[in-house]
């Protein structure tokens, strides 16, 4: 691999060829604010918050889309750069609701974090603000377009990761919006509610509806776990407050899935506390389902299956297994049907 040496804020650093200035900074623990950048998505260079000053270059180039070159001299924190970033943040905040006290994103909001760093309070520019309806017609995602900073990451997550392309920009200039076609609410679009858009939103424009009001980011502990819904093995973080799971958020380091999840994994965890959840086997006695011990239930099944096989033959029995089980469990199920029962009547809920 070819290495380059460049100077960032007076410090000489070496990075592999093909590295952006932003990555060069981050590899060397030099902080650069970004809103529209995500390593798993293509870069747009749109928010302009990551601008730096580079010797010999016109204007202030955005570090996320500028390639590092040999001998490059970069300044990331000089007054000119910081002032430019401050103006950009002021512009964003001027068109953003300041209801941070009740915003679900508070504590995990990139805009708030940078506004704090750069001393931006939203007082400099007074003028028109967007006033768009809040989309709350579905049980999973709460969408407040007035908080959207038009970074476009949700659009890319939907098209580049999920392959759905439900979202795109519409209109232009100050009137630009992000949303499904015709600006329909999510539940009237073809959205699958995988929530990838939520996982990349840097502000409170897209949040997990189930978590609203249940806890602040600093109050929850994140417990990495494997999704129980199917055998793919996706990892995510359970958000636990006071011993109770209040929701799920992506764990970017998840080895199988990254930030991607499906609707069940991301929004199906309410089953944990569901009244309908089965916690013991039930046996129907005199027409009524009665809780039973595992041994009793398994004995009953074994006896009944044996009887049926004897009387009606193995092909009178069929089994349907579940995507909720692991691949190993599903393998055992079919092995059991073929080798023990002696039939090929085995199927799976996620076969098609």
């Amino acid at each position: 691999m070819e290495w380059l040496t460049l100077t960032i804020d007076g410090r000489e650093v070496s990075v592999p060829k093909g590295t952006t200035v932003l990555d060069a900074c981050r590899m060397n623990n030099i902080p650069i604010p970004t809103l529209c950048h995500a390593p798993e998505l293509t870069s747009a260079g749109a928010c302009r918050l990551c601008v730096v000053q580079i010797e010999g270059m016109r204007n202030l180039p955005p570090s996320c889309v500028t390639q590092a070159t040999q001998g490059m001299k970069v300044e990331t924190q000089n007054p000119k750069v910081r002032n430019a970033r401050k103006v950009i943040l002021e512009l964003l905040v001027a068109n953003h609701p300041l209801d941070c006290m009740t915003c679900q994103k508070m504590g995990d909001c990139s805009l708030a974090e940078y506004a704090y760093d750069y001393g931006v309070n939203g007082e400099v520019y007074q003028g028109e603000k967007r006033n768009l309806p809040i989309d709350s017609g579905n049980p999973f995602i709460l969408r407040d377009q007035n908080k959207c900073i038009l970074c476009g990451k949700c659009i890319k997550a939907c098209s580049e990761i999920q392959g759905k392309s439900i979202l795109d920009f519409s209109h232009r200039g100050f009137d630009t919006q992000v949303g499904p076609a015709f600006n329909l609410p999510y539940n009237e679009s073809d959205c699958d509610f995988c929530g990838s858009c939520v996982s990349v939103c840097p502000v409170g424009a897209l949040v997990e509806k189930q978590m609203v009001g249940k806890g602040r980011p600093w109050e929850v502990s994140k417990v990495q776990t494997t999704c129980p819904f199917c055998g793919v093995g996706c990892n995510f973080d359970l958000n636990v407050k006071d011993g109770k799971v209040i929701g799920v958020t992506s764990n970017p380091d998840a080895p199988v899935n990254g930030k991607a999840l499906c609707v069940k994994g991301r929004f199906g965890m309410d089953m944990i506390y569901s009244d309908n959840r089965l916690t013991t086997p039930l046996i129907r006695k005199d027409g009524v389902l009665v809780p039973a011990e595992w041994d009793e239930a398994l004995d009953l099944i074994a006896t009944k299956l044996g009887e049926i096989k004897k009387t009606h033959g193995p092909n009178s029995i069929a089994a349907l297994s579940s995507a909720h089980c692991t691949n190993e469990e599903n393998y055992l199920m079919q092995k059991f049907m073929r080798a023990v029962i002696g039939t090929n009547n085995i199927d799976h809920c996620a076969r098609t």
């Binding site: 098209s159 392309s165 439900i166 979202l167 795109d168 920009f169 519409s170 209109h171 232009r172 949303g179 499904p180 076609a181 015709f182 600006n183 679009s189």
Partner: protein
């Protein structure tokens, strides 16, 4: 029987499908298709946008994004007469803003709107390129130049 079948097929839809067929195998077909569709329908209703999406396999959100980006595309029917008020620099310097005000007051509509009776649609545009005649408006592509606020009412009266 055959006449009954023909009646069931919307002639506009047939034209639209011809336009889509003509362009869809070429490169970058979307904008010419939308332009053709708008010529057929007069505007781009939602069902047309969805139909184009299905036929071209371009996501409907992307098409909607394109439709709302370009000034040429409209999503509501246009009135019987389309007034384009030029606000190019030359027209502005020679009093174009007052022409806009006068027409807006006269028709009681704002830029982009259509009068309730469907008689006029008003659009302020950047430049017709008839700067020598500034200020100008064009109604149904007919250019009226060297305008004064007091001449507006007389010009509008010519269009039913």
């Amino acid at each position: 029987m055959s006449t009954a079948c023909e009646e069931l097929v919307d002639p506009k839809q047939i034209k639209l499908d011809q336009i889509i067929d003509k362009h869809k195998h070429g490169n970058g077909p979307l904008i010419p298709i939308l332009q053709g569709a708008q010529e057929v329908y007069g505007y781009l209703p939602a069902h047309v946008i969805k139909h184009i999406s299905k036929a071209t396999r371009i996501p409907v959100a992307r098409i909607y994004g394109v439709v709302t980006f370009y000034a040429q595309f409209r999503q509501t029917p246009v009135g019987r007469n389309l007034i384009n008020i030029c606000l190019g620099t030359a027209c502005h310097v020679r009093g174009g803003a007052k022409i806009v005000e006068t027409i807006e007051k006269e028709l009681k509509i704002k830029d982009g709107a259509t009068t309730e009776d469907g008689r006029f649609t008003l659009e302020v545009i950047a430049c017709i390129g008839a700067c020598g005649l500034a200020p100008v408006i064009s109604i149904n592509n007919e250019v009226h130049g060297r305008l004064l606020p007091e001449s507006i009412a007389g010009i509008l009266a010519k269009y039913e």
